[in-house]
Amino acid sequence: MKSRSEINARTSANLQEGAARARLVTATSSSLAGGRLRLALVLLFFIFLLAAAISLSVGYQTLDFSLLKHDATARAILFQLRLPRVVLAAIVGASLAMVGAALQALFRNPLAEPLTLGVSGGGALGAGLAIAFGLGARVGGVPLVFLAAFAGAGVSVAVVYRLARTGAVVLPGALLLAGVVINVIAASGVVLIQYLTDYTRALQILRWTIGSLDVVGFDLVWRMLIFLVPGWIVLFVVARDLHLLAVDEETAASLGVNVRRSERLVYIASSLIVGTTVAVGGTIGFVGLIVPHAVRLLFGEDVRVVLPCSFLLGATFLMLADAVARTATGMGELPVGVITALAGGPVFLWLLRRQQRYSAM
């Protein structure tokens, strides 16, 4: 009896010592999300600057930054062609990656992203219709293509969500299947439009469906930002709610998250962001899949960390992908969507295999 209580006392002393040691370790290695986010942002910002410098210097002609002072052609190439294009790549990449991270948290599905959920497809169909019927038309100063792409993306999200949600559960398999089907329907719609319109418009639609970040000057970039910035802000604001939702939906509701309102905000923001990027650059796939996943591997699962980090790393990733697209062949440029799909497709398949361990599709 005595020896047994002695053993008990000793084990509990050991346990307390162990707990104290564990606390010390975590205190030094920052297990708290706030510290991790600060560290990650500093690191990712330096990588972003490096990638920006690289993609500004490479291209049809490699740019020597020291010539800028007295070479007017070099200045024109840099400020009129290359800088707008690199900025466009950065904001499109940041947007797609952040939307991917938000959709993954909202649907509790690591395979969700604008392309796999059919959001890009719906946006493309909307934009295709707008190009076919009223090229360059504006409604109240807003390009019709933007509005149509936004509407198309919004309808896709709504349809996919309705199909996949049963009661309190979002079925992961149904979600992705619905996304695939929407993509097929939208792609067929775009092909149909191409056949029915005249030759020049069909060619324009074709060029644009392949996806390119070809841009001259900053006009288009400013116009996009009017739509993108509100979407970005909404996603940053709901980041905490998304984190709680990703952990457990019912618990999030009991903690005071207005689940329906958060969902609606994410839909609208995602449709706005994806619609705008699709209207300008076409469907660029898998950025929203690879980037948030890389961020999770590096900096953990906390959605409040994953969203801003995906924003920065997404910008970096698409700048570099576009630099590759511009230089890979040595003659013309490749569509950037081809580069991201070649890089992202295998990642998707690998994730699919990994996810089967956790949940039945």
Partner: protein
């Protein structure tokens, strides 16, 4: 409609009832299972009371607990916390008083157990504030309170059912609530873990005066583990009282709609079974 309320309220409206529901009505939006609704349910749980909620499948137990947790909103009726209507308390204020424990945590993302428990601190932080070292201390204490400190760094996706249940309970404790609501916590647990869970709840009641309402099908563990038992049938609370008083042949036959249910007191506890 308020029959159940009249039956229950006079006996229990002493000042010390902590959580009280009066004539709650709830129906899911159309195209849902119409049987799973709350129809005029009333109950009152005293401060520091460990209460069980029993009833047949589809009798509205889970819906009632979700109403009490603020996950669902009642169509009529009112919930009072310490005499204050719940509708007058903001959601984060509510989460500081009442914590909900789901059946299990089934996140697909490999959050660590500590990350999950830290979400219990969100009612105490602003929208753009991250958890502080103080929050982490509270979260680790919550894990320690359910003997789950060793789980802190492990991904919840790799934990067993019993371990996840402990993490879910620790997360609720990190909210530092006065009242816990548990929805069938023992459904995925083996005998040892079921008993361990009850032991934790009793210790929390004795040491921290935490009130708890537990939805359960485990009739064998009610007496003597719980102080009070509420029994639901068809969306109403039809019986309540000490376990030995509620666990009677006649009451159970009515609650479960089954003539074969038997309850007998042996060795100072009540055994319940259903004849084949």
């Amino acid at each position: 409609m308020t029959r159940a309320a009249d039956e229950i309220l006079p006996a229990t409206t002493e000042a010390r009832s902590l959580l009280e529901a009066r004539a709650l009505h709830f129906a899911y939006p159309a195209a849902k299972n119409a049987a799973d609704v709350v129809r005029g349910a009333s109950l009152a749980i005293g401060r520091g009371c460990l209460a069980a909620l029993i009833g047949a499948n589809g009798s509205g137990k889970s819906s009632l607990v979700r109403l009490l947790a603020g996950i669902l909103k009642p169509q009529s009726g009112e919930i009072f916390f310490d005499g204050v209507p719940l509708s007058a308390i903001d959601p984060r204020g509510r989460a500081k008083r009442i914590a909900y424990v789901p059946q299990t945590i089934n996140s697909v993302f490999p959050f660590t157990a500590l990350e999950v428990v830290l979400t219990g601190r969100s009612p105490y932080a602003g929208r753009f504030r991250f958890e502080t070292a103080g929050d982490e201390e509270i979260a680790r204490d919550a894990l320690a309170a359910v003997d789950a400190s060793h789980l802190a760094p492990r991904p919840v996706t790799e934990l067993s059912g019993g371990e996840r249940q402990m993490v879910a309970l620790a997360r609720a404790l990190a909210q530092q609530p006065q009242c816990l609501l548990l929805d069938e916590p023992s459904s995925a647990l083996d005998l040892k873990h079921r008993t361990a869970l009850l032991r934790h709840l009793r210790r929390l009641r004795d040491e921290k005066a935490i009130t708890a309402l537990v939805v359960t099908h485990d009739l064998g563990l009610l007496d003597p583990a719980f102080d009070t038992v509420f029994a639901m049938r068809c969306g109403e609370v039809v019986a309540h009282g000490a376990p030995a008083d509620v666990l009677q042949d006649k009451i159970l036959a009515d609650v479960y709609g089954d003539e074969h249910v038997r309850a007998r007191r042996v060795f100072n506890r009540t055994f319940v079974w259903s004849e084949l």
